[in-house]
Amino acid sequence: MNHISAKPAPVETEALTLMLGDRVLLDRASLRVERGEVLAFTGGAGSGKTALLAALAGQPPAGVDVAGGIRVDGHLLIAQGGRLAPRRPLALQVAEVVGHHLGLDLRLALRRTADGLDRMGVPAAARRFDLPPEQLPDSLRWACLFAMAVAVGPAVLLADAPAAGLDPTVRLRLLHRLADWARADGVALILAGRPEDGVAGPADHVLSLRRGRLLAPKPPRTAPLTPLEPPGASRLHARSVGMSYPLSPGPKGEARTLAVLHGIDLDLRTGETLALLGETGSAKATLARSLLCLPPPTAGAVVWMGRDLMAASAPPATGEDADNSGPDHVGLRRARRDLQPLFPDPAASFDPAMTIGAQFDLALESLRPDIAADRRDHRIDEALEEAGLRPEAALRWPAALTVAEAAHAGLARAILPEPRVLIADEPAASLSAEERETFLDTLMAVRDRRRLSLVLATDRYDEGLRDAHRGIVMLAGRVVESADAETLRTAPLHPYSRAMLAASRGERPALEGDAPSAFGQPTGCPLRRRCPLAREFCAQAVPALEEVAPGHHVACHYWDTPAEG
């Protein structure tokens, strides 16, 4: 005990200053990270996290000037995105690094890496190292990089945006395993990432990099901006909505399809906010687009205020008279005016060949023919201001907008025709940190002012439910739990909801392994290979949604049974 604390800390900086030209990235920061300590830096895009880590690793990026004292013992840097050659076998690349650091030959280096993979919880069956990284799933690549770090066993591990882009439950599982290893082996671990990436979860200390200073992080907003009003009558109904995509014909020429959405029922009431929660492959985005009939679902019915949208959006049977005068087309246009989408990549949802204002004008002309042409500019300015932009933004080209401005412009376009429902598919996916919070606050303010219904599809459990009345948790195209937001935030019952809740709070999710691909779904419950409650019966039947309390539905065979062994 004593002789450990007598040694100097493996990472120490003294008034470390980073300058990029005349811009201060980091102003006189003094840090000290002990052995076995996990430190996380968070910060938005361009806040200087990568430059800080690179400076600690002794390789500051070109153009960044470093001043002040840095002392870092034998370190290993995992760069952003992992930096692996895409076409060389993964085993060779990892073993080369391990062998270089430890002076081992290939066989011993591979054995050490395999031990590291055991500590990362990768089952032996999943180790396909002779494949190049581009053919492996992202989660396995990151697990392998972490295993490489474990095999090398440095005094300090610096990881830049570790496991970024993975689903929250998978990411948090890997990060917690890495932190466990660091604490057990006495490694100083420094993680850097965006605040919504969850690097803060497994860390002992969190510092937020804002305006060149390392500060305590701002706790995220947990309560709604303004108290939620009770919703009104139900207007939008979806009945057994299903979506399947055609695949190439099978060996005997039979038609094959891939079903991604399985008979979803859903009602949306006036002024209600519904969160669609799910990770990659849960088909939450497909459901959101099906509600808009863009494209229409292949099964079921979507009814808006008594009008069947699927019939209206189907192409006319006769083919020739596809002009705008058919009664169906008028009805569809009316529904399009009421139901407006927000896109996950707002910048791509604007035509690059037209200014923002011209596109808004076109949308108004189409959806609100009752507004005179000379009044449209006024409406456009109002919508832009309401969405938090200056009216001058109408004169700009989409390519000239920043990512945040594009997101706000997307919101302005959606509220332009005075809709009643916004259907938002990960609207803030491209934003980070403060920009993300600002955008979501604007969205909620717009919703409250206009008393809009909102469908919000997201993979951030807490953030989605924070402003919602009700939540639906989706997994592999099925609803696994639906309840009011408060219940889902405090006492979810399905193991998948619990794991998503844990991941959103930075805790360790109780799920093992990765989500199966859409082409290799297990029989029975799609979660059974990862689930702590899984028993043999789970392989035999897909659990049906049953009501466990008024308004609370769960689809799990064993939601009320504790985990075995």
Partner: protein, 266 residues
């Protein structure tokens, strides 16, 4: 309005990077334009009188040859570009009307044919058929598959663009989406694909003329002059057409490359 939307000083917006390939494209276009002008003015260099081509000095003769080469290349490139773009549009249309399988077959044929040594058809056609317009048609067809493959890739990338979904969400009918969004965004990538034909037809025609199976001698061609000078072993007559041909090929490639690169989204 720009001064109102100044970004905060902490996050300066980096200056817009120049469009990729623009410099190459412009220099290629300048060189080709200069060549075309020089070739057009070549009769003035040859003493103004209607001299026989072989009597003129080698540079003037090479410039006179360029008239045949360049005008034939332009004709065949326009034909080939139009054929290729038409092929891609036809594939897209068939995919819409009949089904994806037909579209894949039609464009798969273009991909396979783009790998065949179609340029060998040009001397064959030159040897068998004397007519210039037939030769131009065959030359155009050798360039069309590559144009069709690129044009179809651009077309299908654009058809998946999110802003088309946004336009449909704004209640625009398919005809309106086509007129307001698809056609304005499609013109440039299709033109860029069409310019791919220019270096290909120029090379194919020069190759055929080099073998003596290309353009009729009366029209004159760089390839024919290079071939003749090579057979006679005359370095002074060999150098000017060879250099001019190399320059024209470089310029045509630079234009096609630059247009395709500027069009590619990073």
């Amino acid at each position: 309005m720009a001064e109102f939307d100044q970004p905060p000083l902490s996050h300066p917006v980096p200056p817009e990077p120049p469009r990729a390939g623009l410099a190459r494209q412009l220099s290629g276009a300048a060189v080709l334009a200069a060549l075309a002008l020089a070739c057009a003015a070549a009769p003035l260099m040859a003493d103004g009188s209607a001299v026989h081509r072989l009597d003129a000095d080698p540079v003037a003769a090479a410039l006179l040859d360029g008239r045949g080469s360049l005008s034939f290349a332009l004709l065949a490139a326009v034909l080939g570009g139009a054929l290729g773009i038409g092929w891609a549009l036809l594939a897209g249309l068939l995919g819409n009307l009949v089904g994806n399988r037909v579209e894949r077959r039609v464009i798969g044929a273009a991909h396979r044919m783009a790998g065949w040594p179609l340029a060998l058809l040009v001397p064959l056609a030159g040897g068998l058929m004397g007519k210039v317009w037939l030769l131009a048609l065959v030359t155009a067809m050798t360039a069309a598959p590559a144009v069709a493959a690129l044009a179809h890739a651009e077309l299908s990338a654009l058809l998946r663009a999110e802003f088309l979904t946004a336009a449909r969400a704004a209640g625009l009918a398919e005809g309106e989406v086509l007129r307001r969004h698809l056609i304005p965004n499609l013109t440039r990538p299709l033109l860029a694909a069409g310019t791919l034909a220019l270096p290909r037809v120029l090379a194919a025609e020069s190759f055929a003329s080099l073998l003596g199976l290309g353009l009729p001698p009366a029209l004159g061609s760089w390839g024919a002059s290079v071939g003749l000078a090579g057979r006679l072993g005359d370095p002074v007559a060999f150098a000017p057409p060879a250099l001019l041909l190399a320059l024209a090929l470089w310029a045509a490639c630079a234009i096609a490359d630059g247009m395709a690169a500027g069009n590619r989204t990073p």
